[in-house]
Symmetry: C2
Subunit: 230 residues, 2 copies
């Protein structure tokens, strides 16, 4: 029987690695992306390219009006994206974003009779978002078991987090070994319309550190004027 | 200090009653509705009217592309709405709908620093949907505690379900006592563009039984040709 997985694909480094891992595990893959009022469309273009490169069975981009709710630098143009690391939960945190994304993945997984939802959350080199922590994932797993008709009927939907205990360097190593072309992924919170990274935001810094620590040349495409080794 | 609540408002009987209860409890009310690809817009018009009647502080209608996911008679025009009661979970079940709705309410509640999310689920006279059961709500409550920055910092968000143990007749009695004008609410799965009910779907039957059992004249506006007392 075909094993199906819904994979959350943002267009960034982590979710590209998730696609590679799910492919290796033999899943029939259904990629899910969201247009939620984020600052740039470059990541959705990257998501589309990644889904195509990994030959997914279907790729859906679902619209959600999270920008109507606001409260984050990623969805509210009135809040600036900070440069460099910050203390505590940063303003780039989008309230309940992973809960919303996983809920929609749960709905699609139920329709597809998929056995897994794959999400590239990481609790090592991450931005401190509450909805990336293992205890959050565990609570969502319990919810998934009760929320769906299929689970009640004996077809559980697993929330797979293949990256949760890896450092960014380990993620990069894993992906490179599986053939991921990271130059085609966009992690930057404020990439330009060509998908080129700012090099200064928290997400860029974490990503760059991953390549540096892994001793792998950073293939990220940066905006003109940004020097990788400054 | 002002107590704030996000109230999920569908435009139907149950959520109108929730508005009345939250108003009585002294909450500053934030009404949240969803345009999710449902069959008709009449319920959104009713939601808007209800929010206005109860003088909410703000009413948001958020778009979610649940119709892209399909799998339900309510979001897929290719699946017919059944007439009369059915065995098991009916085809009007929208996969993960309440999980998705509560997730977005959670995001808004976090932005507002609201202490409650009010949802009109009911586990007595209901359609058998898995995401209306008390154990589902309890799992979502646990998730809410872990998913948000505010909860971690000591401001929990409660999931309030004031109707969960009431029969439809008790809900109607409560609402009438609080002055709800149920003629302005739309419960029907396939109401016409004037908000008139079919009288035949599961939701109409449950609603009609509520008024009958309560001994309260049914104020529902039905489509021409439908006889209430057939």
């Amino acid at each position: 029987m075909v094993k199906k997985a819904v994979i959350l694909v943002s267009g960034g480094l982590d979710s590209a690695t998730c696609l590679a891992i799910a492919a290796e595990q033999g899943f029939e893959m259904y990629a899910l992306s969201f247009e939620y009022g984020q600052r740039h469309q470059a990541e959705l273009v990257a998501a589309k390219n990644m889904a195509k490169l990994f030959n997914v069975k279907e790729h859906k981009t679902v619209h959600i009006g999270l920008d109507g709710i606001g409260g984050s630098a990623l969805t509210d143009p009135g809040i600036a994206v900070p440069e460099g690391g910050t203390e505590g939960v940063p303003v780039t945190y989008v309230p309940a974003r992973n809960t919303v994304f996983l809920s929609l993945a749960l709905g699609w997984a139920e329709v597809l009779h998929a056995s897994s939802i794959v999400i590239g959350v990481n609790a090592v080199d991450y931005s401190g978002y509450p909805d990336c922590r293992p205890e959050f994932i565990s609570a969502f797993q319990s919810l998934a078991q009760l929320a769906t008709q299929v689970a009640i009927q004996g077809e559980p939907i697993n929330i797979d987090t293949p990256l949760i205990d890896l450092t960014k360097a380990q993620i990069v190593e894993r992906g490179v070994a599986l053939g991921v072309d990271y130059s085609q992924t966009v992690s930057c919170y404020q990439a330009d319309d060509k998908g080129r990274a700012c090099g200064c935001c928290d997400s860029c810094l974490l990503r760059k550190k991953g390549f540096d620590d892994a001793g792998i040349p950073d293939p990220t495409r940066y905006v003109p004027g940004f020097t990788k080794n400054r």
